[in-house]
């Protein structure tokens, strides 16, 4: 296994309980260099506890958390993960520059190195022009970018982001994902906790679903769909009158007014449509859709409300 394919972060059977209530029940997870991992689950699933364990804020009751820093990060202070909390964890009455200075100092970056790093980070987050603005005077998107910028001053090998795009406009969201892509391109492993499922679907390399303190799914979207829902595409036919013809691969309801078929690939759809053309009474409506993360999520975690 090359170094790039060795995990930066490894969680092995991690357990953590609060006052007898199990928050983590044997979590095992790996995070690889340059990987953008989408991590999500219902409220109270144990995501925050797991992140606090990874950061070192909480000590697991059992299991181990190992951070293995690649050579490309040697010499930096990369061994400490960068944490981007969900709220704006900056000082609103300090300027952008001052915020970066204090958080850089707290990470042990000093002097000329700090100034150089601040310049890089300002450019990376497109905040150069607002260097001297008070943080509270920035727009929501800028504040979010500053929030992230403050966590990467020490070039962490692992960056943990908690809902980094909440409440920002599409332009700022694009910019934030662009920033994340730059980080992953440089080898940083990013763990993104979010409820924005469409973004996870399209942006993340891998998806982990957590529920009741356990990881219930781990992989790319097609794998998750296959494992949780089976075939990924669904064709639904609606008839005005009960359909008297038997359709292969379709399942009818009791009244035979609705029929559903699952496809392994959209390439199968033309063949299905061709069959439908031969029916004495064509369906009133044809609904074709591919399963997404929402379906996987609900299939894995159920529809009952959580905390």
């Amino acid at each position: 296994m090359t170094q790039e394919h060795q995990p930066i972060l490894t969680l092995q059977a991690v357990r953590k309980s609060y006052r007898g209530r199990a928050a983590l029940q044997g979590i095992s997870l790996q995070l690889f260099p340059g990987e953008l991992l989408g991590f999500f689950g219902p409220n109270g699933a144990g995501k925050t506890t797991m992140i606090r364990c990874i950061c070192g804020l909480l000590k697991p009751d059992e299991g181990s958390i190992t951070l293995r820093i690649p050579d490309s990060f040697r010499g930096s202070r990369a061994s400490r993960p960068g944490l981007v909390p969900q709220n704006l964890a900056v000082y609103p009455d300090l300027t952008v520059q001052q915020n970066l200075e204090v958080f850089g100092r707290l990470e042990g970056v000093r002097g000329a190195a700090l100034q150089q790093r601040i310049d890089e980070v300002l450019e990376w987050s497109a905040l150069q022009d607002r260097r001297r603005s008070l943080a509270r005077t920035l727009s929501g998107g800028m504040q979010r970018r500053l929030n992230i910028a403050c966590s990467v001053l020490h070039r962490p090998a692992v960056l943990l982001l908690d809902e980094p795009t909440v409440g920002v406009d599409p332009q700022s969201r694009e910019r934030i994902y662009a920033m994340m892509q730059e980080l992953t391109a440089a080898g940083t492993a990013v763990l993104l906790t979010t409820h924005q499922l469409e973004e996870v679907e399209t942006r993340c390399d891998r998806i982990v679903v957590m529920d009741h303190g356990q990881i219930v799914a781990d992989g790319r979207l097609p794998q998750l769909v296959a494992s949780s829902l089976g075939l990924p595409h669904r064709v639904e036919l609606s008839f005005q009158h009960p359909c008297v013809v038997e359709l292969r691969n379709f399942e009818f309801d009791e009244q035979r007014l609705t029929a559903v078929c699952r496809l392994a690939s959209m390439q199968q759809l033309p063949a299905v449509l061709e069959v439908l053309q031969g029916l004495p009474e064509p369906p009133q409506a044809i609904n074709v859709r591919s399963f997404g993360l929402q379906d996987v999520f609900l299939a894995l975690t159920g529809r009952s409300l959580r905390e």
Partner: protein
């Protein structure tokens, strides 16, 4: 619609126990504290006995008589502090020590030749620390009354002596002449003997003057028209003249501790106000910890190189320095405007400012660690700070409080801080005398800091 807003207000109040506490319990609590202060302290006036320390000459009968008189007075709690040293320097040291003990409202000193009966020998020195003006007025009045009674008794004795002398002077020759010297010495002298030559002694009813105009002269009734050169002309004292013409009691009042100060109380008020606002300011500063926890900034800092101990220590140090600065600004201003003699007492001020700020910083950090939210901290701190300030002397000077209230106040570090500042600026005590106050303040600071560290693990678990 308006009722809906009323209902919203009611529901919000009902669902917020701290708000309920501030609205309904806090006023009652404050009323109780002030009621206790005023019912047992200054407003009680005469109900609160004056604590009088006595420094008397050891071998003076008149002084012992005065001491006995004072000890019988229920308005006074007299404590004999032993004999007064004769050496002036030692005298002043004894006085300062007694004052610094804060156990006496007033010290009473008598001169070695104290005598209420003789002119210029009723010399009393009252030494006050300036805290209890009522005590000075009360003891002065008691002493003046005592002096007046002693003067009346002296005058009566003087009158009796004068009459006795006049009787001897006028009657003895007559007795000798009429009865013969031999007979006079053969019979024992009795009133009947004395009046034998003039008939029966006059009938004198108690409380009445001799009655008959033709009665012969007697010791109880000096002649109205005495011959020139007789007793009446030379020594007949008019009682009113004797009472009014005598020397005034020499009662001096002084405050050696405030001898060179213009406004010794100003420093006390500066300290009282400064400590009160210091508590609020420090608690407000410590609330940033909760603010950072709520925003996630604290998590970010905890993940950084800074450990929890460093965070707590850094916050504490910031609050401590801010407290020192705040106290300094207050006292420098007081010095500039009110001349509290800050520079003369700089060492004592620095010691007290440092220890007070340390205790305040630790208190604020502990409060921030215990409370879960900023609003909870704000409400709880307001209740505790105002209560401590009322009981500890920041609002009402401790010296007007009853002993019980003073003892209760000792559970607040306001009281210790203010006692320390009082020693520095009012009593002008040496810096060594601040040891109890500094020990308590730094001790409580240490205890509260340890408690903060023990409880601070919750920051790692999140709010």
């Amino acid at each position: 619609m308006i009722l809906t807003f009323l209902r919203i207000a009611y529901l919000r109040l009902r669902n917020n126990p701290l708000e309920l506490l501030l609205v309904f319990v806090m006023p009652v609590l404050f009323f109780s504290i002030f009621a206790m202060i005023f019912s047992q302290g200054i407003a009680a006036g005469t109900e609160k006995p004056v604590r009088l320390g006595l420094l008397l000459p050891g071998d003076n009968v008149a002084a012992a008589d005065l001491q006995a008189e004072l000890q019988q007075n229920t308005s006074l709690i007299c404590t004999d502090l032993g004999g007064l040293p004769t050496e002036s320097g030692r005298q002043e040291r004894v006085i300062l020590e007694a004052q610094n003990s804060s156990r006496y409202d007033l010290l009473l000193l008598l001169s070695a030749d104290f005598s209420p009966a003789e002119e210029d020998r009723f010399r009393v020195r009252l030494v006050t620390d300036g805290q209890n003006a009522m005590a000075v007025a009360m003891v002065r009045a008691i002493l003046e009354e005592y002096y007046a009674v002693q003067r009346v008794e002296g005058v009566v004795e003087q009158l009796q002596e004068s009459v006795r002398s006049a009787a001897k002077e006028r009657l003895l020759p007559a007795v000798e002449e009429s009865a013969g010297q031999g007979a006079f010495f053969r019979e024992p002298i009795s009133p009947r003997t004395v009046f034998a030559g003039s008939g029966a002694p006059p009938s004198v009813e108690p409380g009445l003057a001799p009655v008959s105009a033709d009665q012969p002269a007697s010791v109880l009734d000096p002649p109205t028209d005495p011959a020139p050169g007789t007793f009446s002309e030379a020594a007949d004292p008019d009682p009113e003249t004797l009472l009014t013409a005598g020397p005034e009691p020499q009662i001096s009042v002084d405050n050696p501790q405030a001898a060179d100060q213009q406004n010794p109380r100003i420093a006390m008020y500066a300290a009282g106000i400064a400590v009160l606002f210091l508590l609020f300011a420090c608690t407000g500063h410590a609330a940033t910890m909760l603010e950072e926890a709520e925003s996630g900034t604290l998590d970010r800092i905890l993940v950084s190189e800074a450990g929890l101990l460093q965070i707590v220590a850094g916050k504490w140090l910031g609050i401590f320095l801010m407290g020192c600065l705040q106290l300094s600004v207050m006292f420098v201003f007081a010095e500039a405007v009110f001349r509290i003699h800050l520079w003369q007492h700089l060492d004592g001020f620095l010691v007290m400012a440092g220890s007070t700020s340390a205790a305040t910083a630790s208190f604020a950090m502990l409060m921030a660690t215990i409370c879960r939210t900023r609003s909870q901290l704000q409400g709880t701190a307001t209740v505790i700070i105002l209560s401590m300030s009322a009981m500890g002397g920041s609002m009402i000077p401790r010296f007007v409080m009853s002993d019980r209230m003073k003892e209760l106040g000792r559970w607040t570090f306001n009281a210790w801080a203010l006692d320390g500042f009082q020693k520095v600026f009012w009593f002008q005590s040496p810096i060594e005398s601040l040891r109890p106050e500094v020990t308590v303040l730094l001790g409580s600071s240490l205890v509260m800091s340890l408690a903060t560290l023990l409880l601070s693990g919750r920051w790692r678990r999140g709010l």
